[in-house]
Structure formats: structure tokens, C-alpha cells
């Protein structure tokens, strides 16, 4: 294993991953993964569960040793410089790792002390987040809502002023409003100069990152800005609506130039193999086809492909991931 790195290495990059591989028994959890993250970048790892995101985080936070390849965090080697890295990173694992029987303030104070600091010393960095949960500082963490737990966990990961932040699926199990607020917080942290690596199974959250890497089966399928990733989609794309989805899917799959069809929220995304044809012309052809087959209410419009479309096409499967 270990093909040459695709990203040019810069000394200043707070995170450089080069050809990482990790296997658990028969499962290749990571396969030749390479990424490079820039200072003060909000970098997203996007992909379905089991894609290798958590394994990658655990290697970067020195919890696991890779089988092959190498990685540096803040210029430190993840295997050799384990203790230096641990003092300087902030890490929020997949579940909100808090003590439910301790209060909000006690949790935060404990994690601050573990890193040799205090809530007061860390206050300036956590202030925008902690202020939102401070009214509940005496409440036990176990009695907080998902969104508040998430903010407390983020405060705990930030209180020692880390130089880089690793967040493993921080928005899983949190309501939509809290998710939006959380991403706003990440943006303000990024503005203050913090490098953030965040993973998510939700495609719609990928748009909020500076750059994303699409991950599946332990591999990186693509790494780029969200808009650029959408542009990687190889075919003209159309949104199709109609009340008889089953018939729509069947008909579109059997259409002469069909590239892919998959459900996307309330509509279907249909892509067509005729890349050099005018999209509006394709749309009207498809519409006629559907009307001819008896689906008179079918609407077809040309749309810009998003990250999820690219992801589906890169995965080479028509199964949908969890819609937001």
C-alpha cells in the first residue's frame, strides 16, 4: 500500500495525512487516505457510517496506531509524539462524552483541570458557546437536551485552548435548529483562527465546510470545496416530481439515456448521459416521455448537482443516504 501523496506538503499545514491504512481483522477501515488541512480551515469529512471517519479521527488523536502511512498533527507525528499532541488538540468523540451525574459547571471544570487550566483561563475562547448553557450551570449534564449536551461537550473540548479541534459527528442526534447554531459557532471559532476537522454523515452540512473529503469504505473519493465537488458530477441533472414515485422511478430507469435515478428528499434526481445536449431540451424530452407513460402530473426541471449527487455518483450506487 502507500501510493504517493496527492497533496503537496506544506510545513505550516496543521494536519497532513499521507497514505494512511488501518485494518481491523477482515475490514479495511482506512485505505490509503491522504489529506492536508490548512491553518484556520474548517475541514469536513463526509460520508456514511462505517466509512472510516471515526478510525481516522482516532489515529489523528493518537488513540490508534496506523498500519501504514503517516500523519502529522501540528507538525507532530501521531505515533511518536503522542503526548505532545494530546496536550494541544481538542477532541470530541462520536458520543457526547460527559459525566451525566456531574453538573454543567463540574464537567467543564473537570476537563479544564485535566488539561491543567481552569474555566476562567479558558473563558475567552469558550464564551460564545458557554454563555448559552451557563444559565444551566448547576443542572446535571444527564438532564440536558441534545443540543445543550453538544455545546457543553464542545466547551469541554475547547476550554484548554487547543491548536486544532477534532469533532467526530458532533451533530448526530441533535435537532435541526441546534445543528444550525452549532455550525454558526464552528464558523466563529474558525474566524478566530482555529483549525477544525469535523465529520458528518449529513450531506447538507458539507456545504458549511471550507473543504470536504468524501469518504466511503475507508477511502477518500474526492477532496475539494463543496461547490467544486458538486461540479464533479459528470452528467446533466434534473429534479423530477410526481405523485406516483414508483412508476416515475421505473420509467426513468428504463429511459433510453438514463444514467442514474435516486430519491432525494421529496423529489427524484435523474441524470442523463447526453452531456453535450441543452439541459432544457433534455428536460422537455423527459417530461414528454413521462406524460406519454401516463404520469401527467410529472414535473421535470434542470438543477445544479450538489455534494450528495456527486457522492451518490462516486459511490456508484443508487441507494440514498440519510436525508436531512
Amino acid at each position: 500500500m502507500g501510493s504517493p501523496s496527492t497533496a503537496p506538503s506544506s510545513v505550516d499545514s496543521p494536519l497532513i495525512v499521507d497514505g494512511l491504512g488501518k485494518r481491523f481483522g477482515d475490514v479495511q477501515a482506512l485505505d490509503d487516505v491522504s489529506i492536508e488541512v490548512q491553518p484556520a480551515e474548517l475541514f469536513g469529512l463526509v460520508g456514511p457510517d462505517g466509512g472510516g471517519k471515526t478510525t481516522l479521527f482516532r489515529i489523528l488523536t493518537t488513540l490508534l496506531i496506523p498500519d501504514s502511512g503517516s500523519a502529522t498533527v501540528l507538525g507532530l507525528d501521531v505515533v511518536r509524539d503522542m503526548w505532545e499532541i494530546r496536550a494541544r488538540v481538542g477532541y470530541m468523540p462520536g458520543q457526547f462524552s460527559l459525566y451525566p451525574d456531574l453538573s454543567v459547571e463540574e464537567n467543564l471544570g473537570f476537563f479544564a483541570s485535566v488539561f491543567g487550566t481552569s474555566i476562567e483561563e479558558g473563558r475567552s475562547i469558550i464564551a460564545p458557546i458557554y454563555e448559552q448553557i451557563e444559565p444551566f450551570r448547576d443542572r446535571r449534564a444527564g438532564a440536558l437536551s441534545g443540543g445543550m449536551k453538544q455545546k457543553l461537550a464542545l466547551s469541554c473540548a475547547l476550554v484548554h485552548r487547543p491548536d486544532i479541534l477534532f469533532l467526530d459527528e458532533p451533530t448526530t442526534g441533535v435537532d435541526a435548529v441546534s445543528r444550525r447554531e452549532f455550525w454558526d459557532l464552528l464558523h466563529s471559532l474558525k474566524e478566530s483562527g482555529l483549525t477544525i476537522v469535523v465529520s458528518t454523515p449529513y450531506m447538507d452540512e458539507a456545504d458549511r465546510c471550507d473543504r470536504v473529503a468524501l469518504m466511503q469504505h475507508g477511502r477518500i473519493l474526492a477532496t475539494d470545496r463543496p461547490a467544486a465537488i458538486g461540479a464533479l458530477f459528470p452528467h446533466p441533472l434534473f429534479g423530477v416530481r410526481g405523485h406516483d414515485r414508483v412508476a416515475l422511478i421505473r420509467t426513468l430507469r428504463e429511459a433510453p439515456h438514463s444514467a442514474s435515478v435516486f430519491p432525494f428528499g421529496g423529489e427524484l434526481h435523474y441524470s442523463d448521459t447526453r452531456t453535450d445536449m441543452d439541459p432544457s431540451q433534455i428536460a422537455s424530452e423527459v417530461r414528454q416521455l413521462l406524460h406519454a407513460k401516463g404520469m401527467e402530473d410529472a414535473e421535470v426541471r434542470s438543477i445544479e448537482p450538489g455534494i450528495e449527487d456527486t457522492f451518490m455518483s462516486l459511490m456508484g450506487t443508487a441507494s440514498s443516504t440519510v436525508p436531512a
Binding site: 503522542m82 483541570s113 485535566v114 491543567g116
Partner: protein, 370 residues
């Protein structure tokens, strides 16, 4: 890199966990009290109204005299006289008799000829302590009879042999208290630490702690020290209960006993950490701690079954059971008033075990996840 504040914060946090789990805390605090009282009463050696049957194949003066002495005793109640041993069996099975005394045929003749006479006491005792006590009462009555005979005609004797239908052991509440303390300490130290540490694993908080400047030994120390405090409270409670309820004698140095108890607690704590380190869930850790520490400490320590009564290979196994050594120490101090000069070798064994288990625990407690 690591400030002393971190250790303190860890212990404060751990003490909060202990104090906030009210139910568990209550159980842990009352446990030594309950165990001493329950075990103490359950193992009381006063036995009254023992139902005795006689197997008298050839009734004569001698058997009649002995039967009368039993009938006259407040301890015994004669339920039947049968001619053969086989006839006693149904009595046992029905639960109508507790013991049977078997006479040799022609007992009076043997005694008058001066040849040794044999009596056999068969006990139907599921509780070994009761059996031992009954045996002692019967022996006393026979010894009385023998003494009277001997003054009349010298050189005559009755030999009594006892056969218990279940494996008998010799224990009393005095011997039990040291074992109970060991059991309570094992529970608090090994089981509770194993649960508490594996809880961190399950919740994912350990993952965060690992990605911190805390070293494994600091996590372990912060985890176990509060439990050592709890163990200390438990030892004192158990001793007080034993002394107040059963007047268990306390002949040796309290300080030495407390030192030995804390040493034993630390061994158990290290075992608890070891169990938590090699298991992946709370449930597995709990079962592991029960099977790996509670059971052997109860069964193979000499607390209930004397080590001498175990098969040879099991006797060898007991060497690695910490409670075995602790019980020797605590019995020595409490019951015999033994000092460090008599117990240093057992203490050394515990120190060696502590070092060994601690090393194993720290080594198996990885600073990474795999």
C-alpha cells in the same frame, strides 16, 4: 506538563460519582453491617432439641444407660430406636431425625470384657456448623458416661467415630468476621472500581481522558484512591458491628489490622482495574470481577471452607488468592493478638501481589485504544 491540580480534580470528580449514586452508596455503607449481623446470626452455634435416633441392634444395660443420658439432656430429643442402620435412612429422608447414634451389638458384654467398644454418630446436617456443634454435645454426653464407667471399672473405653453425611467444617462467628471483612473489601474495591472504570469506557469519557495529558497511572490512581477511603470506612464499620453485636474479641493491634486491610484493599483495587482494563463493557467487567475476585476470595480463602479440606490442586490455587493471606493476618491479629513479627511473611505476600497486579493493571490499561 501535568499539574497536581489534575489529580485532585480527578479525585474530586470520582468522589462526586460515589456520593451522587445514593442507592449504591447506601448499600455499600450498610453492607458490612448487614453482612456481619446476618452471617453472625446465621452461623450461631447454639443448637437445641436435636432429634436423635438410636440404632440399637441388641439392647442391653449399657445401651439403655447411654440412651437415658441422651433423653435426659436438654439438647436432645429421642425420636426413635431402630434395630438396623438401614432403618434410620427413612427417618433422615423424612427429616424426622437430625442424627443417629449407632451402637455395636453386645455393647455391655464388650465393656465388661474390657475390649474397646465403638459408637458411630451419623449426622444429617446441611449446615456444617450445626453438625460440629451436635457432635460436640454428643461427645460430651458419652465422655460423661465413660468417666462414670471408668471410676467403677477401670480400663474400659468407648471410642466414638463420627460420620457426617455432608462435608463438615469448623467455623464460628469469630473466625468468620475476618473473612467477612475480606469479602466486603473485595466488593467495594475490586467490583466497584471495575464497574466505575468500565463505565468510563462505555460512556466514551475514557476516550476523552486518554486524549489528554493524563498518564494511565494518573487515571488509575485518581480512580482508586476514593474507593480506598470507602474501604477504610467499611473496615471500621464491620469491626464495630462485630464487636458490638457479637463481642468478637479483638486482641491485637488495631493499627496493624487497618494497615493490613488497606493493603488488601489496594490489591483488590488493582485487580478491579485489571478486570476493567481487559473487558469492554460494564456488564462483562461486573461478571469478570465477580467471577475473578468475589468467588475465589469467598470460596478459596479459608473463609468458609478450611484450606486443609480442599483437594491438593485447589490448595495450590489458593496461594494466588489475596484473601487467603489477608484472612490469616486478620485472624491472627484479632483472635490471637499476633503482631507483625508473626505476620510479616503474609504481609510480604500481599505487598508482592500488590506490586504484581498493579504492574499488570498499568500495563494492560493502554494509553491507546487498541
Amino acid at each position: 506538563m501535568m499539574r497536581p491540580g489534575a489529580m485532585r480534580a480527578f479525585m474530586v470528580k470520582e468522589i462526586r460519582h460515589i456520593l451522587r449514586d445514593r442507592q449504591t452508596l447506601t448499600i455499600l455503607l450498610l453492607l458490612p453491617l448487614a453482612m456481619v449481623v446476618l452471617f453472625g446470626y446465621a452461623l450461631r452455634s447454639d443448637v437445641k432439641d436435636v432429634r436423635i435416633a438410636f440404632v440399637d441392634p441388641m439392647p442391653d444395660d449399657a445401651t439403655g444407660a447411654i440412651r437415658n443420658r441422651f433423653a435426659g439432656s436438654a439438647r436432645f430429643q429421642v425420636v426413635d430406636v431402630v434395630p438396623t442402620v438401614a432403618a434410620v435412612e427413612p427417618l433422615f429422608r423424612r427429616g424426622a431425625a437430625d442424627v443417629a447414634l449407632v451402637f455395636e451389638p453386645d455393647l455391655a458384654g464388650r465393656l465388661s470384657r474390657g475390649s474397646p467398644a465403638q459408637l458411630l454418630l451419623i449426622g444429617d446436617v446441611s449446615d456444617p456448623n450445626t453438625g460440629t456443634t451436635i457432635q460436640a454435645y454428643a461427645s460430651a454426653i458419652l465422655a460423661d458416661y465413660q468417666r462414670d464407667l471408668s471410676t467403677a471399672r477401670s480400663g474400659m473405653r468407648i471410642e466414638m467415630r463420627t460420620r457426617m453425611r455432608y462435608n463438615p467444617t469448623l467455623e464460628s462467628v469469630n473466625l468468620f468476621v475476618p473473612g467477612l471483612i475480606a469479602l466486603v473489601l473485595t466488593l467495594v474495591s475490586a467490583l466497584m472500581t471495575a464497574i466505575s472504570l468500565s463505565k468510563e469506557k462505555e460512556r466514551g469519557t475514557l476516550e476523552v481522558l486518554l486524549v489528554s495529558p493524563l498518564r494511565p497511572w494518573q487515571i488509575i490512581l485518581g480512580k482508586v484512591l476514593p474507593y480506598l477511603l470507602l474501604a477504610f470506612v467499611n473496615v471500621v464499620t464491620a469491626l464495630l458491628a462485630a464487636w458490638a453485636v457479637f463481642q468478637v474479641p479483638f486482641r491485637g493491634s488495631l493499627a496493624l489490622l487497618l494497615v493490613a486491610s488497606m493493603l488488601y484493599s489496594m490489591v483488590s483495587l488493582a485487580l478491579g482495574v485489571l478486570v476493567a482494563a481487559i473487558t469492554t463493557s460494564q456488564r462483562a467487567a461486573m461478571i469478570g470481577a465477580m467471577a475473578g475476585t468475589m468467588l475465589p476470595n469467598e470460596l478459596l480463602s479459608g473463609m468458609i471452607f478450611p484450606i486443609a479440606s480442599l483437594p491438593d490442586w485447589l490448595q495450590w490455587v489458593t496461594i494466588v488468592i489475596p484473601a487467603r493471606w489477608y484472612i490469616v493476618i486478620s485472624r491472627g491479629i484479632m483472635l490471637k493478638g499476633a503482631g507483625i513479627e508473626h505476620l510479616w511473611s503474609e504481609m510480604l505476600v500481599l505487598v508482592a501481589m500488590l506490586a504484581g497486579f498493579l504492574l499488570l493493571a498499568v500495563r494492560s490499561f493502554s494509553s491507546r485504544l487498541d
